[in-house]
């Protein structure tokens, strides 16, 4: 038996079946019945939402996570940003010939742990193999389905003038952890120990449920600031809702290690990627209770109110008040800050 992926593992024949039986099913769980072309799923009452994301992150494993955790958390979070309870995922794997089976096994195990943490089941999968040089190791594309509870109406278009902009924690952790790992940059501690730059990769549906319990229908919009960072996500929300926002830069939590690395590299942490943070737009009367609920949740301990929503549009969608008291326009990301961040 080979210890690396062969083209025949993607043939649909016996080696494909062996891969399913030795790696995918042991980690992701056997279905109750036979392996079908499509899996049956049971949905609770409520509005159903569906999403997909591809994952091409490099390196495959980084401080705080790997492509397996990312492929589960990223799609779970897209569902959670509609206020949904994530329920089912599918996973499509594209593998390069020669990829080590032991590494695949480790990454699928990691995916299974993330799915268990997030309370979702991976109900269908597919594996394709391409020849050496036609892909870079492993790409994963997940799709997800979730159910939005009765009464929850969250939309990127929901922000209204007067609303408060809440942020669940520090920004830039994922982006800088990947960058430091990839480039071998020495941002680690002088003494041996884990790097202070750790990805924040985490499933956010539990935090969202706690926020909805506190803020209810007063939570108007949610978005997770992934690629393009906080700046791009705020611009998307402001654009979709046809409002403007003012953000107080000093209120945005940024870990010291991230700030130091950004200073050194000339990067703006407001554009760096996050994989376990969310922006919430809440009505002013519910902002305090929502913020308290966020801070009471392990994934929102550093949550902060960072700005306000306003009507009209004068110079731009999002304006930042800097710690020096000056103002600058915060546009969506132009160009590419860091390829293959997720």
């Amino acid at each position: 038996m080979s210890d690396v992926i062969l083209l025949a593992h993607g043939s649909g024949g016996l080696l494909s079946q062996e891969l399913v039986e030795t790696i995918f099913l042991p980690h992701l769980g056997h279905p109750d019945g036979p392996l079908e072309d499509a899996a049956e799923i049971a949905l609770a009452p409520g509005r159903v939402v569906m999403t997909t994301d591809g994952y091409v992150v490099r390196p495959l494993t980084f401080p705080g996570g790997d492509i397996g955790t990312l492929a589960v958390c990223g799609t779970v979070n897209d569902l959670a940003m509609r206020g949904a309870r994530p329920l089912y995922l599918t996973a499509g794997f594209i593998l390069e010939e020669g990829f080590p089976l032991a590494e695949l096994d480790r990454l699928v195990a990691s995916m299974a742990r993330a799915a268990a943490d997030a309370g979702v089941r991976v109900v269908a999968g597919d594996t394709k193999v391409v020849e050496r040089g036609a892909a870079d190791g492993l790409f994963i594309t997940t799709a997800g389905v979730g159910v939005v509870p009765e009464g929850v109406r969250i939309s990127a278009a929901g922000a209204r003038p007067g609303d408060v902009v809440l942020l669940s924690g520090s920004v830039g952790d994922h982006g800088l952890a990947i960058l430091a790992q990839r480039e071998g940059l020495g941002f680690g501690p002088a003494e041996p120990g884990p790097s202070p730059l750790q990805s924040d990769c985490a499933p956010l549906h539990g935090l969202v449920a706690a926020m909805l319990a506190a803020g209810g229908a007063s939570i108007h919009a949610l978005r997770d600031p992934t690629r393009g960072g906080l700046a791009t996500a705020l611009n998307e929300l402001a654009h979709a809702s046809d409002v403007t926002m003012t953000i107080d830069e000093a209120a945005v939590p940024i870990h010291d290690a991230v700030r130091a690395a950004c200073d050194l590299l000339g990067l703006d942490p407001l554009y760096a990627a996050n994989e376990g943070k969310l922006i919430a737009i809440a009505a002013p009367e519910a902002a305090e209770a929502t913020l308290a609920a966020m801070r009471a949740h392990p994934l929102g301990a550093e949550a902060a109110a960072i700005g306000r929503v306003h009507a009209g549009r004068e110079v731009g969608r999002v304006v930042v008040r800097t710690p020096l008291g000056t103002h600058r326009l915060l546009d969506a990301l132009t160009g590419e800050q860091l390829p293959r961040i997720c």
Copy 2:
């Protein structure tokens, strides 16, 4: 404006947005509201099924189809093989830096046509870009959701002794069309004109609906013989149902051009891939009516009864009676007949 994919098209910033607005939304349709992290879908009553498949076919365009039609039809067909009405797809694109935007536009247009033909909506998408050499042009992963009508219970484990094995048409067309195109083999006609080797890529849900109208609950199992071909799909069905099958090789429709190409290349058409064919296992009393319904449908005009299901297991799962009257064991595909066939 660039005419090829740049890394920044995968940044999540302004160029990503431009790609969505100039290519994806014009073809695949604007949502009713803003672009959300997850799309709301409306499901008819019934059991819900979900599936995914990745597409890495090479070349991207081939006689009878392209990766866009394939990425829609393949996932639609996996849903149809449960007897479901396919309703919603998601599409994740992994693009190589430098990929021509005009080609992407053409392939997404083709995807949109296939989705319209199949009556499904592509409700969510994602684009990632990797650097030159880290992927081979374009990979697409689709996921799909469909609803199984009341009373329909189709499963790979449904075949019972005495059942009839039906096949919706000729085998090997997709596999040989790809092979001929890829290798530049001269199987074309002496006179100019389309190659006689054309992929059979097509959505099968309409054929399945016509069969269910005729055969109802007497249709026990369905499978589309894609990678690994007819032989592998029959073995999967026999294994999942714990039965054996005898197949009459002379009854299996094979187009002359496919047979000639297989003879020349030493390939067995029973292992060649199909993208618009299905195997149905039906109770004997309903087999004739089901076959008649298949033949009345444009995608089943060449349908045939090709074998029977039996109890027990002696030497193997699937036995073929050859045109010479001898018998041979038909195993699932071992090794790799042709990489990147879908």
